[in-house]
């Protein structure tokens, strides 16, 4: 089996994430809208808080939103938290 090209992998990761995310409520529909509205996208990158407020999406107290944009030469990856399965977490169960 041929290995997947870099751009295919990036496109697919996006597709895999969006599958099931479209129905993710306000944020899902905002991300959908951003994909086909260039002006909204610019504003979302520059001032995400304002766009969220317009759409009635509320973030938890003390949390800010950062919007990163991939380009044809830059890929951003945000890692999930590291899971550590040590004895203390086992004992806590």
């Amino acid at each position: 089996m041929a290995s997947m090209s870099f751009f295919d992998a990036v496109h697919r990761l996006w597709a895999e994430t969006m599958a099931g995310f479209w129905r993710g409520g306000d944020l899902g529909s905002l991300l959908g809208a951003v994909n086909h509205d260039q002006q909204l996208k610019r504003r979302f990158v520059e001032d995400p808080g304002a766009v969220l407020a317009e759409r009635g999406v509320r973030l938890p107290e003390g949390i800010t939103l950062k919007v990163l944009e991939n380009t044809s030469t830059t890929l951003h990856l945000v890692l999930p938290p590291l899971v550590t399965l040590d004895e203390s977490t086992e004992a806590a169960k």
């Binding site: 290995s3 697919r12 994430t17 995310f21 951003v34 800010t64 830059t74 951003h76 945000v78 890692l79």
Partner: protein, 193 residues
């Protein structure tokens, strides 16, 4: 179904601390371990999650789709689908419920070939796929490919997968499993509940 090396790397970075460190220090070398070659001139920036900030990554603009002026389906149920199948759009995802047979396949084909831009077809509740259904999927696949777009099949149930396997078409379609909510941050930051 082809495994996505990028997804594999992110998943591994959740539990393998040494790999995670390598991914942050030298993303290209770490991704190469998972069989992914980052092209010359492309920079990969790896972000650690932060306690006080959510990070959302937007995909790069697909210039080809933009020039082709991608079209967006209207939200909600598709009208005029024969009994036995219901079709509902939610953003770019079309959810099919019921049987895709010679009576209902034309409606599916019409729904998917009326628009373009990447589309997701959710087949979780499809109980039957006939040869007419396969023809409809192929027509949609070709229509979107002609517009530099992709048809993704999501949540393909076993009976449907078996049919696609039997006719040797599993690899013709982009079949994908949604990522678990846990690795959603990899692309979009944390889901906001």
């Amino acid at each position: 179904m082809r495994a996505n090396p990028l997804r594999a790397a992110i998943t591994r970075a959740c539990t393998d601390a040494a790999f995670r460190s390598r991914l942050i220090a030298d993303p290209k070398a770490a991704l190469a371990e998972e069989g992914l070659t980052v092209p010359e001139g492309v920079e990969v920036v790896v972000h650690e999650p932060q306690d006080d900030a959510l990070m959302i990554v937007l995909p790069a603009q697909n210039e080809a789709q933009l020039q082709a002026r991608e079209t967006i389906p209207p939200e909600g149920p598709v009208a005029g689908v024969p009994t036995g199948l219901t079709l509902t759009w939610c953003e770019r995802e079309l959810t099919a419920v019921g049987r895709i047979d010679s009576a209902t396949a034309p409606a599916l084909r019409q729904a998917l070939t009326r628009y373009f831009g990447d589309m997701w077809l959710n087949l979780a509740d499809v109980t039957y796929l006939s040869s007419a259904g396969i023809a409809a999927l192929l027509a949609a696949h070709k229509h979107l490919a002609d517009h530099q777009s992709t048809l993704f099949l999501v949540n393909v149930p076993d009976p449907v997968r078996n049919v696609l396997d039997l006719v040797g078409l599993s690899d013709a379609f982009e079949i994908l499993e949604p990522v678990s909510p846990y690795i959603v941050p990899a692309t979009f930051g944390y889901p906001i509940v």
